[in-house]
């Protein structure tokens, strides 16, 4: 007991001293003046190599180029999403962004409660009323949606052009309308350049677990490669890591999704369909800065540079110039409206 008492005294004294230390460059919490942006990440937060990191990149660019001050909140459990948004809104941020469809309800509620704060939701799920018409989000809320089917179309064309096989592979995570969008766009891209090609589509499951099952991904990919497929496009979260693993084993190609996944299997990643969450977030911040922010549904497609495919030093050797030119032509045609990419089955 005596020893514990002594320990307590020592610790409290140490704390007292330490709490008066003020290191150089310690931040004072920002208030008022200037462009203040708040971002609440989805569970998992930064380091997911996907949309959370994308949002961070966009915010970082806005700090550099627009002089924005950005605060980040990483929620823990369910109620932290609303709490995080509220914390930022109550502090008088100019724009509050929720990253991920799961923020849909929370954003709607807070946008109604804080009509003078601008809100934006990445992948915000626009609800549908009984008659099937979309319900418009509140006037101060921007729903950021991505035309994943357009990006998928281009990687589909790429796969067919360099795949050297009449069979192309697709592996989806959870069998759901969201992922069908990727599959349908991909298949349309394949058919656009190779009408008699065939897409072998497989799904890892019917629950969200299907996005976290690399073992299953590898299994599905191996079976596709053994059927004569040379390129597989995956839209399956970390299940896709198994697809790349299979590509490495079989010395064939995989195509990444959401972010540049070259590093998952260097040399075996043909390209990646990238979702430019960074561009969408930057765009929103720029709109707020220029006072041209409006609520509503924003579609980020090829035209807005919201989706695209990776073509850089890592994969230039795998994509001949003629193929690159063909892809750029298709991209121009989609932007011009000459090609309409389907988004549902």
């Amino acid at each position: 007991m005596r020893r514990l008492f002594g320990l307590l005294g020592v610790l409290l004294a140490a704390h007292l001293v330490l709490s008066f230390v003020r290191p150089e460059g310690a931040a004072t919490p920002p208030v008022g003046e200037g462009l203040d942006i708040g971002i609440v990440f989805d569970l998992g937060g930064r380091g997911d190599k996907s949309f959370n990191d994308g949002a961070y990149l966009g915010a970082e660019r806005a700090m550099r180029e627009l002089g924005a001050r950005v605060r980040f909140v990483e929620p823990g459990e369910g109620s932290d999403r609303e709490a995080g948004l509220r914390l930022l809104a109550a502090e008088g941020m100019d724009l509050v962004i929720g990253v991920g469809f799961i923020f849909t309800d929370d954003l709607t509620e807070l946008a109604n409660e804080y009509p003078n704060v601008a809100f934006a939701g990445v992948d915000y799920a626009v609800t549908v009323d009984r008659a099937g018409n979309p319900v418009a989000p509140p006037a101060n809320l921007a729903a950021l949606k991505f035309r994943e089917e357009q990006g998928s179309f281009l990687v589909g064309a790429l796969a067919a052009l360099v795949g050297n096989s009449k069979k192309l592979g697709f592996i989806g995570g959870m069998d759901s309308p969201l992922i069908h969008k990727f599959e349908v766009g991909y298949a349309a891209g394949v058919k656009a350049v190779c009408p008699d090609c065939q897409v072998i589509s497989q799904y890892a499951g019917v629950t969200p677990e299907a996005f976290r099952n690399p073992g299953r991904g590898k299994e599905l990919a191996l079976s596709a490669y053994q059927q004569g497929v040379n390129v597989i496009y995956h839209a399956s979260g970390s299940t896709g890591l198994g697809v790349f693993e299979a590509a490495r084993t079989m010395q064939k190609f995989g195509i990444g999704v959401d972010a540049d996944q070259f590093n998952e299997a260097p040399g075996f990643v043909l390209s990646s369909m990238i979702k430019r969450v960074d561009n969408a977030v930057f765009d929103m911040i720029a709109r707020v800065k220029d006072e041209r922010f409006e609520g509503g549904v924003y579609q980020y497609g090829l035209e807005q540079d919201g989706v695209g495919y990776v073509y850089d030093d890592n994969n230039r050797a795998l994509i001949p110039d003629s193929v690159r030119a063909r892809l750029e032509q298709l991209k121009a045609d989609i932007i011009a409206g000459k090609i309409i990419v389907p988004s549902s089955r």
């Binding site: 514990l4 610790l11 230390v21 799920a125």
Partner: protein, 370 residues
Amino acid sequence: MSGHTGAFAEPTPVPDATARAMRRRAALEEALLPPLVALAVILVAGDLLILAYGEAPGAVWRLLAEGTWGNAYGIGQVLYKATTLTCTGLAVAFALRAGLFNIGAEGQLAAGGFGAALAGLALPAGTPSLVAIVICVGAAALCGGAVGAVPGVLRARFGAHEVIVTIMMNFIVLALLNYVVAAKLHVPETLHTPTIRAGAVPRLASSIEAFHGSAASWTIVIVAAAVIGVAWYLFRTRAGFELRAVGLQPAAAEYGGVNVPRAWRNALMLSGAIAGLGGVNYVLGYKGYYEDGFAGGAGFLGIAVALVGRNHPLGVVIAALFFATLSQGGLAINAMVPKQMVDVLQGIVILAVAAAVPEVRRLVRQAARR
């Protein structure tokens, strides 16, 4: 030493007044000192972490205090988080009193929330509010209890180790609920069920305007009643006495006429029911629907709550408030330091308390012997 009262405490000579006063003081010191030392440890550890991150500890702690106990909204948030944690902590503490380690509170909590949501969806919209709430709360306890009954029966019948079974039940229950919600019950483009038709518990803000915006609801009363009920059961009923006797020394309890397997089964089943009750906080009091993954680790944190709360209902409530403060405070200081700092502090609390609490030493010794 351990502070238990009852037939198995060491026999004591009739004390005179001074001896009694001295013993009381020693008991008080023993109850209060370890948590205080743990608190001091995390303050210093927090100071060092904050400094390592290049911020001023004083400013960060002030922000943490302001964001939690500094205003009604913050208090509401702390209360909300503490309500769930009290249930899971109480569940773990309850089983520990019977000498059983229930690591399945996470799954039981989720099952309870799901049960409440199912009942709320099944009831017709016009059901009188009080009736509906009672039915939904009962459904939550029933579902949590059903999940807890599995390791209980396996332990009682076959001697299956409850640690293994409760851990594995988490995977089974969470995966099953995930499947049911994702494949059968969800609102399109989301991972939650439709909103319940009846059984919603009003938020605190509906009666006290100052709490506006916080997630806290009157489920807090339901949980408070559960705490009192558990305390009464443990210390004032024969069944509770038997349960504690089994926890202290199963062989002696059996010799004393206690049906040990039955006590084990009941302890795990009731423990599951208590954890399941926690699900009403999110489902009935906050969102009005079951959402996949809402438990978010509150079940596992319940183990820490029980340890820090020293397996006493009142201690559990205090520990739950403490962990809830850390969790909400972590959000408030997120602008200055990464959230992971709070996670590290949580770990340090658990280590500091575990090292200082005699019950834990005893449990570790017992586990080593088994």
